[in-house]
Subunit: 153 residues, 2 copies
C-alpha cells in the first residue's frame, strides 16, 4: 500500500507539473498529442495483455517495463484534452468530454487508479496480479471510450 | 559517470526487451508508432528547450521530469523502424534507413548518447548543463532528419 501511495504521489506530482493549455499552440496540436499518446499506449498495453493471456512467455522484468511505459503514456494522454480542443482536428472525442466535465474527470480518475494498481502489480512481479489489474485497465479504457469517443468511421 | 553508465545500462536493457518486429502486425502499425513517439517527443523536447532558453522559469524538478519523458519517447521511436516499414503508410523515412543500416545505427546511437547526457544533466539539476545537453540533442535530431527524412510536403 505504501508503495502504491508513493506511485500515486509521483503521478500526481507529474500531472501538476504539466500546465495543460500552455503546452499546445493550437487545438490541433492537443488533438495530435493525445491521439499519439493513445496509439502508443494501445501498443504497449497490447503487449501486457499478450503476457497476461500467455501469448508470450512471462518475464517479470519485461512485464514491469511495459507497464511503466503504459503508465507514462496514460498520464500523458489526459493532458491533451484541453479546453477548446473539441474541434480543430480529426478527433473522435465527443462534446461530453467538455460539457460533462465531472463525469469525464471521474473516468480519468478511474483510469489512473486502475493504472496505478497495474503498476503495483508489475512491480510485484506476480502474474496473477498483473492479469487482474490489466483486465481492469482494459475495462476502464473501454468504459471511457464507450461514453466519450464516437465510433470510428 | 557511474550514474550515466547505470542509465545507459537501463536503456540498453529496455531496448533488448523490445523485440522490434514482434510488436507490430503490419508496416503501417510501425510507421504510426514511430510517428506518434516522435510527435510526443517533439512536444516534450520543446518544453525542455523553453526552459533552457528562459521562456519558462527554471524549475529543476519539472525540467528533470520532462527530460525523463523525452528519454522514454526517444527510445520508443527507434523501435518503430522495423524491416519492411519503409513503405505501407504515409512515411517520410528515406530508403537509406534500411539501405545504409550502419549509418542509421550510428545516428541512432548518437541520439541515444546525447539523450543520456541530457538525462544526466536533468538529474543534476544544473541549468547550464541542461542548456548544453539539450542543444546537443537538438543537433542530433536535426542531423538524423536531414539525412534520413524526406522534406514535408
Amino acid at each position: 500500500m505504501t508503495r502504491l501511495l508513493i506511485v500515486a504521489a509521483t503521478l500526481a506530482g507529474l500531472l501538476s507539473a504539466l500546465p495543460a493549455a500552455a503546452q499546445f499552440r493550437k487545438p490541433e496540436d492537443a488533438i495530435k498529442y493525445r491521439q499519439s499518446a493513445m496509439a502508443l499506449q494501445n501498443n504497449h498495453l497490447g503487449r501486457v495483455f499478450a503476457i497476461a493471456q500467455g501469448r508470450v512467455p512471462f518475464d517479470a522484468k519485461v512485464a514491469a517495463e511495459q507497464i511503466e511505459i503504459v503508465a507514462m503514456l496514460n498520464r500523458l494522454q489526459f493532458a491533451g484534452f484541453i479546453e477548446g480542443s473539441d474541434k480543430g482536428g480529426n478527433t473522435r472525442a465527443k462534446p461530453e468530454v467538455w460539457t460533462e466535465k465531472d463525469k469525464f474527470a471521474a473516468a480519468v480518475a478511474k483510469s489512473q487508479e486502475d493504472v496505478l494498481k497495474l503498476v503495483a502489480a508489475g512491480r510485484s512481479g506476480n502474474l496473477d496480479m498483473i492479469k487482474t489489474a490489466v483486465g481492469a485497465v482494459g475495462q476502464s479504457c473501454k468504459g471511457c471510450h464507450d461514453t466519450f469517443q464516437a465510433p470510428a468511421n
